[in-house]
């Protein structure tokens, strides 16, 4: 059964329509990736899913529940967690405070401690800097923090927007290692990524978004082999 099923989603910024009749699904335990050029509407899609964009029509079903029209904070409470583009950590809060805020919807005294221990085990670098202002971390560390903060919410579906953007190649590799590990922990992932090859290799399911429409879908490997996609994004 689909964990997330989107049907004929149309999203607008003011009068401008950004997404047109987008339909896609993600099954439990999968990694799904959305690829597409800049301004194709990838981030818009994630923002609409998490309830930040209100001018939308169609249907977004998560665990068979309609999300469209719900306030963003209620959607997060249902376990659909969005790690936004550009990390968007709270710069003046410490690393640990950022993580504590991440657990907002799941905060109980014992649980907070347990989740912190789990997340520090995955991201030892964050444990080293836990008392430091998050804004003073390097770009790669901030990305780790953004993902870790998302995990603190015990997500059913983690949506991650451009996790490798602006990172050095070594850190990109590290980011994908982390995603691999999260996948192993039974978290379903919806990924938006400009590092197309890596993302597709890693995905069970993939969609290409072009000018606000889904133009291709299949397994990650299907898309990798697609001649059109190769030409458009990989320059091959």
């Amino acid at each position: 059964m689909s964990l997330l099923k989107i049907e004929k989603l149309n999203v607008f910024y003011g009068d401008v329509q950004v997404l047109r009749d987008v339909s896609l699904e993600v099954k439990k335990g999968e990694v799904a990736t959305i690829v597409g050029a800049n301004a194709a509407g990838k981030s818009t899609l994630l923002r609409a899913l998490s309830g930040l964009l209100k001018k939308a029509s169609g249907s977004i079903r998560f665990n068979s529940e309609e999300l469209l029209g719900l306030p963003a904070f209620e959607i997060a409470a249902k376990g659909l967690i969005h790690v936004p583009e550009g990390r968007r950590i709270f710069p003046l809060l410490t690393v640990q405070e950022n993580l504590e805020i991440g657990a907002y919807t799941r905060r109980t005294e014992g649980n907070l401690k347990k989740k912190l221990d789990e997340v520090y085990a995955i991201f030892p670098v964050l444990a080293e800097h836990k008392g430091q202002a998050a804004g003073s971390l390097s770009g790669g560390e901030q990305q780790m923090l953004a993902i870790a903060r998302g995990l603190m919410a015990e997500p059913t579906l983690l949506m991650i927007d451009e996790p490798s953007l602006g990172l050095a190649p070594l850190l990109v590799a590290k980011t994908f290692q982390v995603l691999e590990r999260i996948k192993g922990e039974d978290v379903t992932i919806l990924l938006v990524e400009q590092n197309v090859v890596r993302a597709l290799e890693f995905s069970d399911r993939a969609y290409a978004l072009e000018n606000g429409r889904i133009t291709l879908h299949g397994t990650g490997l299907d898309l990798l082999k697609d001649p059109y996609l190769k030409k458009a994004y990989l320059g091959l």
């Binding site: 998490s50 964009l53 306030p71 904070f73 409470a77 969005h82 709270f90 809060l93 991440g102 905060r107």
Partner: protein
């Protein structure tokens, strides 16, 4: 200039500054969290002074005890003001926000004038009338130092509350949630935080703090419908000087402005004290535009489409 005089002036200045600090914290909190400049803050202070005055006048309630009524009352007034007036301006152009809070200040001022007339009213408490005399400290070469009791009480309570409030913001989970929301409200929403509720609580706490300040000030100052305007100017100087949104900054700047005011009032003349602290204010802002403890870009905020409803 004798050293006794300097010590006396510094003490008077710091005591005065404690009052400025407490009355400004609410303003800086509301700005820091919601990026709304509450131009009606002085009028809430005026209301708080009237509440304590009338409780004293009609029920013979000691102004310090009247806080027990003021605290819940102003918390509720804060919630109602947020829900009825402020909430609609979140995300609206800054001009609409200014119109709403300035309009609110004019309405409150004129309602006070209508109901309570323009009379100047004071509360005098017999147990506060005699000042405390410290010294002489012959070992330090100091003569007697005079400390006004009402100002001392206002200072001690004001600074204690400021510290308690700072610790609350720093260490409690709700404090962290409020700080996170003030830094990035869109991301706060993504964490599942109902920012409308955070705003309601923050605004209500800001009004509650000025409510306490009013009760502490009524034994010292005369209340009349326009008293808010006299103080709001100083509050804005304190908030901007300290760094908009910074609690520590408001306390430090409050004490600093208090000392500046007392010294300039004594040496130059009371009529020019505002000119002096505005000069100091401009000088600090030229050197450090974000204020003493301010974060660069604190006043900027991304426009968002929805605050969660």
């Amino acid at each position: 200039m004798s050293s006794t005089l300097v010590v006396q002036l510094v003490i008077s200045g710091i005591l005065l500054g404690g009052i400025y600090a407490l009355s400004s914290i609410g303003l800086t909190l509301i700005f820091g969290v919601m990026k709304i400049v509450n131009f009606a803050h002085g009028e809430f202070l005026m209301l708080a002074m009237y509440v304590s005055f009338w409780l004293f006048h009609w029920a013979h309630l000691d102004p310090y005890l009247s806080m027990l009524i003021s605290v819940p009352l102003f918390f509720i007034i804060g919630i109602l003001t947020y829900k009825v007036f402020i909430k609609k301006t979140i995300g609206a152009p800054i001009l609409s926000q200014i119109f709403v809070t300035v309009g609110l200040s004019i309405i409150i001022e004129n309602l006070a004038l209508l109901f309570w007339s323009a009379d100047f009213r004071t509360v005098s408490l017999s147990y506060l009338s005699r000042p405390i005399i410290l010294g002489p400290f012959s070992g330090l070469g100091l003569e007697e130092i005079i400390v006004n009791k009402a100002r001392l009480i206002a200072f001690i309570l004001g600074i204690s509350l400021s510290i308690a409030f700072y610790l609350f913001m720093r260490f409690s989970y709700l404090g962290k949630v409020i700080r996170a929301t003030s830094q990035d409200r869109t991301t706060a929403l993504l964490m599942g935080i109902n920012i409308d509720r955070v705003y309601t609580i923050s605004f209500a706490m800001g009004i509650l703090l000025v409510g306490i300040a009013g009760a502490l000030m009524i034994p010292i100052y005369t209340v009349h419908p326009f008293v808010g305007f006299e103080f709001v100017l100083i509050m804005f100087v304190v908030v901007v000087l300290g760094g908009m949104g910074s609690i520590v900054g408001a306390v430090v700047a409050g004490l600093f402005i208090g000392v500046v005011e007392v010294f300039s009032g004594f040496f130059i003349g009371p009529e020019s004290k505002q000119a002096v602290y505005f000069l100091v204010f401009i000088a600090v802002l030229v050197l450090k535009p974000s204020g003493l403890f301010g974060e660069k870009g604190e006043e900027e905020l991304e426009r968002i489409e929805a605050i969660g409803e």
